[in-house]
């Protein structure tokens, strides 16, 4: 306990999440502030808020998943990267295109079907 009390509070950092990830976790947000001393602690904090997010971000090595990149400021980071106060942590994924990302040849383009009110047909 004494060790915990003497440990300095982790710095406040600003984290930006990729839109496709936010879409998978209702209630999550693109940009948030949290306390973390390393990228690994950012992942811990995200997992605490939105259970399951760690698996989306990290693989079993553990390391950042290979389709993702984490940048601290302007430099690429790993889970071990230490964070200074006010650090900008950007988690980003590859994006492929503006039109619906239909890689399959022959699939009709035009995106999600919508009804006349502009709402999705479910």
């Amino acid at each position: 306990m004494a060790d915990d009390e003497s440990r300095p509070a982790p710095p406040r950092v600003v984290v930006t999440l990729p839109a496709p990830l936010v879409n998978l976790f209702p209630g999550s947000v693109r940009r948030l502030e949290l306390a973390a001393a390393s990228v690994g602690e950012v992942i811990d904090a995200l997992e605490a808020r939105w259970p399951g997010m760690r698996d989306r971000l990290c693989d079993s090595r553990p390391a950042i998943r290979r389709h993702l990149n984490v940048f601290v400021g302007s430099e690429r980071a790993s889970l071990a990267t230490r964070l200074p106060p006010g650090a900008e942590v950007t988690i980003m994924t590859a994006i492929s295109g503006g039109s619906p990302a239909l890689a399959e040849p022959g699939r009709r383009r035009g995106g999600r079907p919508l009804d006349r009110t502009g709402k999705g047909v479910v």
Binding site: A19, P20, R66, A94, I95, S96, G97
Partner: protein
């Protein structure tokens, strides 16, 4: 070269720039650029490259113009719905600058034609809408030693970079940045996520600017950098990219030496 009076008039605002001048404009007129995709990114890209006087512009796309394209694909028009996109683009570019030669490749950019297409041009600009094409373009450009200017957009987000991994030094490739495509449920989100039409215009215009810089050899290249645009926050960020020593394409132990693995992937699909 000696310009005609009409050329001096047409390109005056370029020629006035010390970084371009007559020599640079002549270089643009002699340049050959391949644009992958005549869609949201390809539209402004094609229009600005043609207006700038890039002499030969190839465009590869197997799609036809659809009504749903016109929200962002500004090279096409309502009266050309149903027309091949490469033909629609040819008509638009001829209207803007008849001096420019547009070479339509009505095909999918695929393992079977990628090497031949890339080898016929000085530079490749990727505005495609799927990861298979993006990884193929990256591999084909590296193997041919051609610069690749790559842009992507989704919803309100944009990414732009230049890849010249065939150069010595810290010039990463697309695979150094993205080691593999996102999992299918991420892509499913993309497919339903939509995009702000003006985003494709902004990123395509930035991409055209980087293409022209590369052709002229001016300014600071985006090789080794990724530009990230967040339109909702009206925020641009540049982050540093480094070569990945373990990269399958350009690392110390290269495992990709031809495009055959793309053919196998397509066959499996």
């Amino acid at each position: 070269m000696e310009f005609t009076d009409a050329q001096v008039h047409r390109y005056a605002r370029h020629i006035l720039l010390p970084e371009v001048g007559g020599e640079g404009q002549a270089r643009l007129l002699a340049s050959r650029v391949l644009v992958i995709g005549a869609g949201g990114l390809g539209s402004p890209l094609l229009l600005y490259l043609a207006a700038a006087g890039v002499g030969t512009i190839g465009v590869v796309d197997d799609d036809d113009v659809d009504l749903s394209n016109l929200q962002r694909q500004v090279v096409h028009t309502t009266d050309r719905i149903g027309t091949a996109k490469v033909e629609s683009a040819r008509l638009a570019l001829a209207g803007i600058n008849p001096e420019v030669r547009l070479v339509p490749h009505r095909a999918r950019f695929a393992a079977g034609n990628a090497a031949g297409l890339v080898s016929a041009y000085d530079l490749v600009a990727d505005g495609s809408d799927n990861f298979a094409t993006r990884f193929l373009a990256a591999d084909a450009c590296f193997l041919a030693g051609k610069p690749l200017v790559s842009a992507a957009v989704l919803r309100f987000d944009g990414q732009l970079s230049t890849f010249k991994p065939y150069l010595a030094g810290d010039h990463p490739c697309y695979r150094c940045l993205f080691r593999e495509p996102p999992p299918p449920d991420y892509m499913q989100s993309c497919a339903n996520a939509g995009v702000l039409g003006a985003m494709t215009g902004a990123m395509g215009a930035l991409q055209a600017g980087e293409v022209i810089k590369e052709l002229l050899g001016i300014g600071e290249s985006l090789s080794g950098w990724l530009l990230i645009f967040d339109a909702l926050a009206t925020s641009f960020r540049k982050v540093r990219l480094h070569r990945d020593p373990s990269c399958r394409l350009c690392g110390r132990e290269r495992r990709i030496t031809d495009l055959s693995h793309h053919r196998a992937t397509a066959d499996a699909g």
